[in-house]
């Protein structure tokens, strides 16, 4: 039946308090009780007198500090060397030296928060607003200049009168009985811990959802800075030009790169040109690829003028492996590709210069292949 929470005895000096602890401990308090002291500042020797164990905070801080350092190293290493390695300043992406400053700072940060919040929330269980001592008369003196020794009830059977007698015998100047609180304390450290845990969990869930969402949806508004650029994109209107259109024709005389008009007017005039590409495997492969895309449809896969076109097409493509084309100079074949001939259109716009020469090599290869002599066989 603990209607009394505790009996408080006030003392004027720290010496008196320490002496009193010894005396009260040796007395019979008539029931289950524990001692607690309340002081305006930390008093040396009080822990020992009350039999309090050492604070585990130092070990906690060391562990969390080391964890912070490890976390910082792993985070930086993963981000800089594994997930998106970039060479900055000529430094190897896996180099560790530049990671030390942040490692130290995060070590201190983790350690600090452990020390501060660990002390408050975990070890001291503060904030706690409903404690009976806070509502007592004595608290004014306790935070000012007096020292209090409290005999607190631990269960039913606590005898406040015996406690009072013990305190008075030990030299207390004033005695105060603290009634047990009728309402539970509010906004306690436990509530805060639970709230923080809840917020942390919510953040983790939100983070995972965001990450998943971002992976699924490439573009999430409102972070569309690179999308909406203040520049003129295709098919956008523009008030800068009189006709209001953003799209403009090229200036007359514009030439696309690599597409300068040829210096010859007929393929025969191009006969003097020399094939600048070497006859290598890569060039021939390229020639074959281009030929199959551009030329085979009319001239046939073997170059013999048997195309995949139907007879409905009308025009008859040249047989490239026939003697007359075999007699052409390389430059003449090149010139035909560039200017076209009869029904064949000009392929200058479809084939850049080096592709054209690669096709010339391939046509030569086809001519030789289709007119092979016995000595050509291995």
């Amino acid at each position: 039946m603990a209607e009394t929470f505790a009996v408080l005895g006030l003392f004027d000096h720290a010496d008196a308090l320490l002496a009193a602890i010894g005396k009260v401990k040796s007395q019979d308090l008539g029931g289950p009780a524990r001692l607690e002291a309340y002081t305006p500042y930390p008093v040396h020797g009080l822990d020992r007198a009350l039999g309090l164990r050492r604070s585990p905070l130092a070990g906690m801080v060391m562990v969390m500090g080391i964890l912070g350092a490890l976390f910082a190293m792993v985070m930086q290493y993963w981000m800089s060397a594994v997930d998106y390695p970039i060479v900055t300043g000529g430094k190897d992406p896996t180099s560790w030296q530049a990671f030390i400053p942040i490692m130290f700072e995060l070590m201190v940060l983790f350690a600090t928060f452990t020390a501060g919040l660990g002390m408050l929330l975990l070890l001291n269980r503060l904030p706690l607003f409903g404690h009976p001592v806070l509502g007592s008369r004595a608290i004014r003196s306790i935070t000012r200049d007096r020292f209090a020794l409290a005999v607190e009830a631990e269960g039913s059977g606590f005898d406040p009168r015996a406690a009072q007698a013990a305190l008075e015998a030990a030299g207390a100047r004033e005695i105060e009985w603290l009634p047990a609180p009728d309402t539970g304390p509010f906004l306690t450290a436990v509530t805060i811990q639970r709230s923080l845990a809840g917020i942390a969990a919510a953040c983790v869930v939100a983070g995972v959802l965001t990450w998943g969402g971002v992976k699924l949806m490439p573009v999430l508004r409102p972070m569309v800075h690179m999308e909406d650029q203040p520049r003129l994109s295709a098919q956008q209107p523009s008030r800068f030009f009189p006709d209001g259109s953003g799209m403009r024709m090229p200036v007359p005389g514009t030439v696309a790169r690599g597409y300068l008009p040829p210096p010859f007017k007929t393929p025969e005039q191009a006969a003097g040109l020399v094939n600048p590409l070497p006859r290598t495997r890569e060039v021939l492969d390229r020639g074959r690829a281009e030929y199959q895309v551009r030329c085979a449809v009319c001239h046939g896969a073997l170059g013999d003028g048997t195309p995949t076109l139907t007879a409905a097409y009308g025009a008859k493509p040249a047989n490239l492996v026939a003697p007359n084309i075999r007699a052409y100079a390389d430059g003449q074949i090149y010139g035909t590709i560039v200017l076209g001939k009869n029904a064949m259109p000009a392929y200058a716009a479809d084939l850049p210069e080096d592709a054209r020469w690669a096709v010339v090599h391939y046509v030569r290869a086809l001519q030789r292949a289709q007119n092979a002599k016995d000595e050509d066989l291995p």
Binding site: A58, M62, G89, G90, K91, Q97, A98, I100
Partner: protein
């Protein structure tokens, strides 16, 4: 019986010193002058930093007028007296200049990078600086230590006043000596290289060495039943400062390395290339281990800082680590592979033996605590 034991220790030390001297002299012939001078230099710098660290402890106590450290001051003063024989060692060390210091050679005048400072790097001016610094070191010891010993007898607080006024001068002398040692003795080995923090780096190492030597001396004296009035609070302070300066040394050492690694300038990285790559890599890793990680984790628990048993092994580890630091700074001038063989052992015997002989004699002079100091009583009560 005690005299017999003392006699035995003395004989052993003399024997070791003489053996070391013989081995050292032999190494000049057998292993070459460069090896000889490198060893001489490392041991000179090691004992110099121990002595300067101890001097710093004495000077800073007078500067801050602290009371708690008064009982310990005599130990540091005695260690600081090493500066007296070290003056002679420094003058002999000048023999290393033509051998190990490229800037002092005549070819330096032709090198475009060295020509402008050939006068500075040359032997005459170098020697002048060494003589000046040795003189200033002796001055500081004379004022602070001799006065303190005299105060034992005449109990005159005038010395305390004088020491407090001299303390800033002693600090200036200390700063000059560590900076000179850094620029001349150490970075002179690679005259194109320079680092302005080398003086601070040597300060950090010297302070750690001085603290460790003081701690060891304290333990040695306590083992002989002396200095029993020193409280656990005193040893906790020594352990605490040793811990703090372990971190400080690591900070300065790493900061210098990081800046040179980051800038990656050819004329700066040669220093670290010679000391962190190839065969020297295990040495620098060992240095980081014994100079930082081991003392740090050994001293981080609060109880460990004041624990005499813990200090009994941490202090020697710190001294070995400091020696290794200087070995790592100097020996790469000899070649790309670390050398460790009988010449090094010989020099260890010579210099350790010699230093211990000197310190043994010093520990017999005067009282173990500055009994004439007005604040000894309060210092014993650990008043701050």
């Amino acid at each position: 019986m005690k005299a017999e034991r003392t006699g035995t220790v003395g004989t052993v030390l003399w024997g070791a010193t003489l053996l070391g001297a013989a081995l050292a002299a032999l190494s000049y012939v057998q292993a070459g002058p460069a090896r000889f001078w490198a060893n001489w230099l490392v041991w000179f710098l090691f004992l110099l930093s121990v002595a300067l660290g101890a001097l710093f402890l004495v000077a800073v106590e007078h500067l801050t007028a602290s009371r708690w450290s008064v009982p310990l001051r005599r130990i540091s003063e005695r260690i600081a007296t090493l500066l007296l024989p070290l003056a002679a060692v420094a003058l002999v060390a000048l023999g290393a200049v033509p051998v190990l210091y490229p800037g002092a050679r005549p070819e330096a005048a032709a090198d475009p990078l060295l020509a402008g400072k050939a006068v500075w790097l040359g032997l005459p001016f170098f020697a002048l600086r060494v003589v000046l610094c040795a003189g200033l070191g002796i001055l500081a010891v004379a004022v602070l230590v001799r006065g303190s010993l005299r105060q034992d007898r005449d109990r005159d607080p005038a010395f305390t006043r004088r020491a407090r006024r001299f303390a800033p001068v002693a600090m200036a002398i200390f700063a000059l000596l560590v900076t000179q040692a850094g620029f001349d003795w150490i970075s002179g080995l690679a005259p194109a290289w320079y680092s302005d923090v080398i003086g601070v780096y040597l300060f950090a190492g010297a302070f750690m060495a001085g603290l460790a030597a003081t701690a060891l001396a304290l333990l040695a004296l306590r083992a002989r039943g002396r200095l029993t009035a020193i409280r656990p609070d005193h040893t906790y302070s020594i352990g605490g400062y040793l811990f703090a300066f372990t971190v400080f040394w690591a900070y300065i050492a790493f900061a210098q390395y990081l800046l040179m690694w980051y800038g990656n300038l050819p004329d700066e990285v040669v220093w670290y290339q010679a000391r962190t790559l190839g065969a020297w890599r295990p040495v620098v890793l060992l240095l980081a281990l014994v100079h930082f990680f081991v003392p740090f984790f050994a001293l981080v628990p609060r109880d460990a800082k004041g624990d005499l048993r813990r200090l009994a092994w941490v202090a020697p580890v710190v001294l070995v680590a400091h020696w290794l630091d200087l070995y790592w700074l100097v020996f790469p001038a000899l070649g790309p592979a670390p050398r460790w063989s009988w010449p090094e052992l010989g020099f260890a015997l010579l210099f350790l033996g010699g230093a211990l002989l000197w310190l043994r004699a010093a520990m017999a002079r005067g009282e173990d605590m500055p009994v004439g100091d007005p604040f000894l009583g309060e210092g014993l009560e650990f008043r701050l």
